[in-house]
């Protein structure tokens, strides 16, 4: 019996378990999936919790519901990976698992403690994140009774998962405070280490304009050095200061600690990964899906989905002794919620930045690219249903893995 071991049962790991269980012969292969958490979080839903569009119950389901019957699912912390020995140590009963193939899908996680002063004093009093269910929920309780003031949203450093989420947060905040009738009492500020609203020039210009039109002020190239919660200011390394009444942070994102303990990651614990084949750069029987790797595209659920087919095919090719295919092109797409029941869709890859146009989606009709429309908002809201019912199970999505130029205005 051979073993395929999958570490992490989030978006990527769950999809791989489902797909591989269809492809591998159960008489020959055992598939084991490990995660420390019994609960699956629909992370894109965290964005909506502070504004009471979703409640915490709306974004959770038991992980087990998504694990196929022929996959062994173990709930345990992963203590150590020993890639040279082809084995993994679990915290539960200090059990060792030997593997023939390993898929790492341990994701990316926030570390507010990486910033000086962040988790002192004001943490969860008037400093919140919305990248965890706890942070988003605490922020929702705070916002409910907030009378207004200056809300500063800061991205600590890049890369972060879902790089558009901070913009969406501000667009929704603009809508939420308008609905509450206190928009004139709230100042919205984005302090970002980037030189504009987004990482890609055309989208950055368009999204930058949207911020401006909504009266959201942007402080670019702001690299936060510390939070002084007694004075309610954040200070950059080049000594600019911004006062806040409410500070919303997107903390440093890092790969899982087990990656660092195992000496497998870079300076942010992301695993060096071939950006076209999704194989580990150091060990040929290890493949990486989702946020855990260092491939230079967005860290997003949609990207993990686009990686899936390439990863499954390459792992099977490797098992057969065939050469890997370099077919992953960095394809990413995201619906960006822009408030007032509208949204934007962006679609891009390693080589092509987001462009305006129409996205021709079979069965759903065209979505406007880089332009606000109600259809894009509904696309985003339907995404939750699709996520639970199609995506996690590795089902067919109406999106191609590789990006298409159809409908784009180059």
């Amino acid at each position: 019996m051979k073993t395929l071991l999958i570490l992490g049962a989030g978006t990527g790991g769950t999809m791989v378990a489902n797909k591989m269980s269809e492809h591998l012969d159960a008489n020959e292969w055992k598939i084991i999936l490990v995660d420390k958490d019994e609960t699956h979080y629909y992370q894109p839903g965290f964005l909506f919790i502070p504004f009471e569009i979703y409640s915490p119950q709306d974004v959770v389901k038991p992980k087990r519901d998504f694990v196929p019957p022929n996959v062994e699912f173990i709930i345990s912390d992963i203590e150590m990976i020993e890639p040279e020995q082809n084995r993994v140590k679990l915290a539960k009963r200090s059990k060792w698992i030997d593997y023939d193939y390993l898929v790492v899908a341990t994701g990316s996680h926030v570390h507010p403690e990486e910033t000086e002063g962040m988790v002192n004093g004001g943490w969860y009093k008037n400093i919140f994140d919305f990248y965890t269910v706890e942070g988003a929920t605490a922020l929702s309780r705070f916002l409910k009774f907030w009378k207004g003031g200056r809300l500063v949203l800061n991205i600590t450093e890049m890369p972060i998962k879902c790089p558009v989420a901070p913009l969406e947060f501000l667009f929704l905040a603009d809508w939420y405070f308008t609905e509450r009738g206190i928009r004139d009492k709230v100042e919205l500020v984005l302090a970002t280490p980037l030189d504009g609203a987004f990482t890609k020039p055309r989208a950055s210009a368009i999204l930058g304009n949207m911020l401006e039109n909504k009266g959201i002020y942007i402080e670019p190239e702001f690299n936060i050095g510390e939070v002084d919660s007694s004075k309610q200011v954040i200070r950059s390394y080049d000594e600019r200061e911004i006062d806040y009444d409410l500070f919303v942070t997107v903390p440093t994102n890092m790969g899982a600690e087990v990656i660092e303990r195992s000496g497998m990651g870079d300076e942010l614990n992301f695993i060096p990964t071939d950006k076209h084949t999704l194989q580990s750069k150091n060990w040929e029987n290890i493949f990486i899906i989702g946020d855990a790797g260092d491939v230079p595209t967005s860290k997003a659920g949609s990207v993990a989905h686009f990686m899936l087919d390439v990863l499954i095919e390459n792992m099977q090719r490797h098992m057969e002794g065939l050469e890997l295919r370099s077919t992953f092109d960095g394809h990413a797409n995201c619906f960006i919620e822009s408030g007032f029941e509208k949204g934007i869709l962006i679609d891009f890859n390693y080589d092509v930045e987001p462009l305006p146009g129409k996205y021709p989606l079979p069965g759903f009709g065209p979505f406007s690219l880089l332009q606000e429309s109600p259809a894009n908002h509904w696309g985003k809201m339907i995404f939750r249903w699709t996520y639970w019912n199609v995506l996690l199970k590795g089902g067919e999505m109406p999106f191609e893995s590789q990006m298409s130029m159809a409908g784009k205005w180059a």
């Binding site: 890049m158 890369p159 990482t199 190239e221 080049d238 300076e267 595209t297």
Partner: protein, 106 residues
């Protein structure tokens, strides 16, 4: 202060519109000093620790390191990096080291 600019050194070297060298392989330490002088930076040994690390990263990986990488792998604290390159260490160190603007973010 020993800020001497000898523009002849830069003859034939191509720069992009933001002042980053187009071909990193054209770079020499003298060119680095000249770019630094134009940016009004007086290079100390500590600057050279950074530049050497950045060049080594380029040789190994083909691109400029991020700020965090210079700090964590290169061993130079972020605060000090801002003292050395006040206008943004990752960017300015890349510029002085003859590399393209660091992407580092997606």
């Amino acid at each position: 202060m020993t800020l001497t600019i000898n523009p002849e050194v830069l003859e034939g070297i191509e720069f992009d519109e933001e002042g980053f060298m187009v071909d990193a392989d054209d770079w020499t330490p003298t060119i680095g000093e000249t770019i630094a002088a134009i940016l009004e930076l007086d290079l100390t040994e500590r600057h050279w620790d950074v530049i050497n690390f950045v060049r080594q990263e380029y040789a190994d990986k083909g691109e400029a390191p991020t700020l965090r990488r210079i700090t964590k792998v290169g061993g130079i604290p972020t605060k000090e990096l801002y003292q050395l390159f006040p206008d943004g260490p990752a960017k300015i160190a890349a510029k002085v080291s003859g590399l393209a603007k660091p992407t580092g973010c997606i």
